[in-house]
Symmetry: C2
Subunit: 341 residues, 2 copies
């Protein structure tokens, strides 16, 4: 028996000039649409929340079509295919993609929906929204492929307490790194890095002299610099790169850059002098490597070599609260909502 | 009958605070040394001159042991093995390496001597000092391997009239590039680029507005930026890179950098925004690829798809003059001296 009614959160208000509030959303019910050719129906198992969502609520964040009032709130999730008119996605498949904040989603699997199959069976499917999803793939492919991390490497990670950064130390170690140092913006985050997230040492970039601390903690320099931040942090890290270092540009630098004229880079000559490589990548362009990344990460989880932090709320009703928790920093680890089994 | 007497140029004076003069060198004669185990004897066929040699004469250029007065002048050459107690180098082999300014050289083939076998038989052996030697390998491996130049690419080369730059356009084209633009420092050099060296267009960086000219000549941007210069030129080029561009750092930037605090880079955000890669390389670390590079370059020369410019003087006696010609800019193309057949 296929479902006929779909509960869903729609956008009710835009949070202009203020924080996101629960009243920005309205829970309603709509019929489940009939499937057209190539479409399939997904039952949502878990939904993700992400900081970018406030931007979606305002104007689309410049990368998406602006969301209209009354439309289903946008977001990624993991679900089970329960009906299909698409030969590539069969009933029973577990999939990741843009499901939206709702119990049932209809899609044709076109690129916009970021649909791919979840193949691992060793960890809860919620991990497809974190350590075994795009976050994990970004950390894994950034370190293993772009950064070519290998045995004996000394690794520096900025934004180390973030979604990607929080699993970088364990991944780097599993790839053979001898030492991994992380940068974060508070004493509490720094404690988390070394106590829970596998970092050998942490630097509080708001309080410490970053240049001096890198020199102390990585006295022989950096082989792989996984940078989620850019700007001053990138520049300071460059001073410490070793011969043939790889600098992986992964992250939030765009937010600095778009805010105005970017800060110049003073230590770029280290790239030339030390025969190094600095490279940016975009995870959405690496879909052909997702299956390999998932297999590697799942094997580490199964072997107890990759621990991940997840903060789970129960029930579709919790979606607005889950999002608001992100902005208040209440969550520890990836915030997900369990929608159905 | 092996030779017993070796004519050679030794350092007589150091050119402190002045140009190199013929009287800085003295031609003398010494016995040819007996071969110890692992040593072999090379008859010089061609010798190379290079701008760095004045530095050798002064202090070793910071990369070599300082040359002493009375020592044989240092330099690379190509020669024929005429006696050998080394199993890796046999009589008849043609080799490239640091032979010094002399008719006969004894070496044990250790890494310092940069010895490798010249395998191509399609072009004069003098090319082992230019288009079919380290210069050519630098251009080829920089474009093909580091730059991953491929069909349809738009290529910008700085220092395009230099040793490496002067063969970059033809190599890029042979790799499939659709358009190659070169930067040089005079109208005469720019004319050479387009008339003899295969460039589609040239920019005179001393006179033109480089930013504007790149925009005009490469309106869709740059896929591969082969940079021999660094500083402002690198920074300006970065503004024009395309998505997934490769910036190959090949060159003389070191001379800028060592002169003091390097100029900051303002347009580095393009690397992040356009998912690009910036990478430096050092040709002496790529010896395992020399045979492949030589084979590719030799095949293009044999097919008439790679023209090179060579300026040849006759006789060991000409060595000082050959070097002085470099500094006065009289030579067009690679300056070599023919020592014996």
């Amino acid at each position: 028996m296929l479902p006929t009614r779909n509960r869903r959160w729609v956008l009710a208000e835009r949070p202009h000039g203020r924080n996101v509030a629960e009243t920005d959303f309205r829970l309603d019910t709509a019929p489940v649409a009939q499937l057209a050719e190539h479409e399939f129906l997904i039952q949502t198992l878990f939904l993700s929340v992400a900081p970018v969502m406030r931007q979606y609520m305002l104007d689309g964040a410049g990368i998406e079509r602006p969301l209209q009032l009354g439309e289903v709130m946008r977001g990624r999730g993991v679900g089970r295919v329960i009906a299909s008119r698409n030969a590539d996605f069969r009933v029973g498949d577990i999939v990741h993609g843009k499901l939206g904040w709702q119990e049932f989603a209809v899609t044709d699997g076109s690129p916009y929906f970021m649909m791919y199959k979840v193949r691992q069976r060793v960890a809860p499917y919620s991990t497809a929204l974190g350590a075994l999803g795009l976050t994990g793939f970004t950390a894994y492919l950034g370190l293993a492929d772009v950064g070519a991390t290998r045995a004996g490497d000394r690794v520096l990670v900025s934004g180390a307490a973030g979604g990607v950064g929080s699993i970088c130390a364990q991944i780097a170690r599993n790839l053979g790194a001898r030492r991994v140092v992380g940068l974060a913006g508070s004493a509490a985050k720094c404690a988390l890095l070394t106590q829970r997230l596998g970092y050998d040492a942490a630097i509080n970039y708001r309080r410490d002299d970053v240049d001096q601390r890198i020199a102390e903690l990585l006295p022989d320099g950096i082989d792989v610099f996984f940078d989620n931040v850019g700007a001053e942090i990138l520049d300071t890290g460059l001073k410490h790169i070793r011969r043939h270092a790889r600098i992986v540009l992964c992250g939030q630098i765009a937010t600095y850059v778009d805010a105005g004229k970017p800060r110049p880079l003073y230590n770029h000559d280290a790239i030339f002098k030390r025969m190094a490589r600095m490279e940016a990548f975009f995870i959405y362009e690496m879909a052909q490597h997702f299956e390999r990344a998932e297999a590697a990460l799942a094997a580490w989880i199964a072997a107890g070599k990759l621990e991940y932090l997840e903060d789970r709320l129960e029930g579709l009703e919790q979606m607005p609260r889950a999002l608001i928790r992100l902005y208040s920093g209440e969550n520890i680890g990836k915030q997900v909502v369990h929608v159905s089994d």
